[in-house]
């Protein structure tokens, strides 16, 4: 069975380690915050200028001065701090953020990522994505394995304008966990009940299948 978006987030949450500072992008990555394993303390960074992001506020307690990078009303946790956008991206560039999770439109088997622009259609802008992918020590992409037309999003080369080159370390889709290696995507885990053949058929970039591929544990 292919994973739900929640399950993709749940699987990514297994990558978290105690003491990690983590930046979660918009969409599936945001859901990762709901699955932080017990006993692990993780601090969420929001690149508009906050460390220690908490859950959404209760209705009636929204504060327009307190939003995340997705412009959603949020709260803070104990030990949080606010800072300006230069310091925010300063700590990102300096490699102080341990893990960045973000969505993508395409990923290449060399780790290139495209997620900000579709030529001919509307250009919304890159926001902080280019800074994050250029600087993060560890980048995990959370996305669907194929686009709505059924075409693979894991490609030999990105066709869309790049957000960053050779930066993605891992990809978690509804079908698989893949690592970006020097020789292409390496299949690490299958979604429960998903056949290796299905993953092979839906991966256009170079895919390394090394022996028996284990199922994910969720």
């Amino acid at each position: 069975m292919a994973l739900t978006k929640e399950q993709i987030a749940q699987r990514i949450a297994q990558e978290l380690k105690d003491g990690y500072y983590v930046n979660l992008g918009i969409g599936i990555p945001t859901l990762v915050a709901n699955y932080i394993p017990a006993g692990i303390n993780v601090v969420l960074q929001s690149e508009n200028g906050l460390l220690g992001m908490g859950p959404f506020p209760f209705e009636g307690e929204e504060d327009p001065d307190l939003i995340n990078a997705g412009k959603q009303t949020i709260t803070t946790v104990a030990g949080s701090s606010f800072f300006d956008s230069a310091m925010s991206f300063g700590m990102i560039r300096a490699g102080k953020v341990d893990l960045t999770v973000l969505g993508a439109m395409e990923v290449s088997d060399a780790g290139d990522i495209a997620n900000w622009k579709i030529p001919g259609k509307m250009v919304k802008g890159m926001g902080g994505a280019m800074d994050l992918v250029a600087s993060a020590k560890n980048i995990i992409v959370a996305m669907m394995h194929t686009n709505p037309k059924g075409e693979s999003k894991l490609l030999p080369q990105c066709t869309l304008p790049l957000t960053g080159k050779r930066c993605v370390k891992k990809i978690v889709t509804e079908l698989a966990v893949l690592e970006v290696t020097e020789n292409g995507f390496k299949l690490l885990e299958r979604a429960p009940g998903v056949a290796t053949e299905e993953i092979i058929s839906k991966t256009a970039g170079k895919l390394i299948v090394d022996g028996e591929v284990p199922e994910m544990k969720l």
């Binding site: 001065d65 995340n68 959603q72 230069a86 991206f89 290139d112 509307m122 902080g128």
Partner: protein, 234 residues
């Protein structure tokens, strides 16, 4: 020397056509609402606006776009604005999209007297086109120049009559950076107090960077994405 102005209209009075403006805020959070309203009322045109976002159709910089006051927009994300899209596609509006961290750091560079900075953001992408590249410790960087703005217009939570500013929560964002970067910096504040009332240890923008300040009024503080949890959810 008096830095205190009566209101937005008097504070922005000498902003003329073709000016280069920085406008603080992230999304609609921490934007200089009063000054934007005054700029719309003044009707100045051909502006170059440096701001992380371009507002929404009927609020923020969107109000200036609707009036066709903006010639060029320099931003990192403009995805919430249909009028913006229309003007961009019709060629009425010139747009330069740059990474958010680059935008922030180019503001800081201006305020810190640093003519250029190096950032890895955009290396290997179309953002790198025409820019000087340089390798430090085996990693590639782009050289990006400090911004040069005629006016910086920012919004703070508290300010004093000497121009010292304090921001609240994530409404800080680009405001202190732009406050440092303008040739003339105009600050609107929710609470204007006499010099000496703010704790000098907690000033975010020292008054030396601020030439004009006024007490704002009628803040709408619109929320773009109202997300809440019910009392029962985790």
């Amino acid at each position: 020397m008096n830095k205190v102005y009566a209101d937005a209209n008097t504070a922005i009075k000498d902003i003329t056509d073709n000016a280069v403006l920085m406008l603080g805020g992230f999304g609609l959070c921490g934007i200089p609402e009063n000054s934007i309203a005054a700029l719309v009322a003044a009707g100045v045109k051909n502006l170059t606006c440096i701001s992380n976002n371009a507002g929404v159709d009927d609020f923020g910089i969107g109000l200036m776009l609707k009036q066709k006051q903006v010639k060029k927009m320099i931003a990192s994300y403009v995805g919430e604005n249909a009028e913006f899209e229309r003007q961009l596609l019709s060629g009425e509006l010139e747009v330069e999209l740059i990474p958010q961290g680059t935008l922030a750091t180019r503001c800081m560079a201006a305020g810190y007297g640093m003519p250029a900075i190096f950032t890895p953001a955009g290396v290997g992408t179309e953002v790198a086109n025409g820019k000087e590249k340089r390798v430090f410790n085996g990693k590639e960087y782009l050289m990006e120049y400090a911004f040069d703005a005629d006016f910086a217009i920012v919004k703070a939570w508290k300010g004093d009559t000497d121009g010292n500013l304090i921001y609240k929560d994530t409404a800080r964002n680009f405001n202190p950076l732009m406050a440092m970067a303008g040739k003339i910096t105009i600050a609107e504040v929710e609470h204007l107090v006499p010099a000496g009332e703010l704790d000098p240890n907690y000033i975010h923008t020292p008054g030396i960077y601020v030439q004009r300040i006024f007490q704002g009024s009628n803040y709408e503080k619109r929320i773009e994405q109202r997300t809440t949890k019910s009392p029962l959810s985790p």
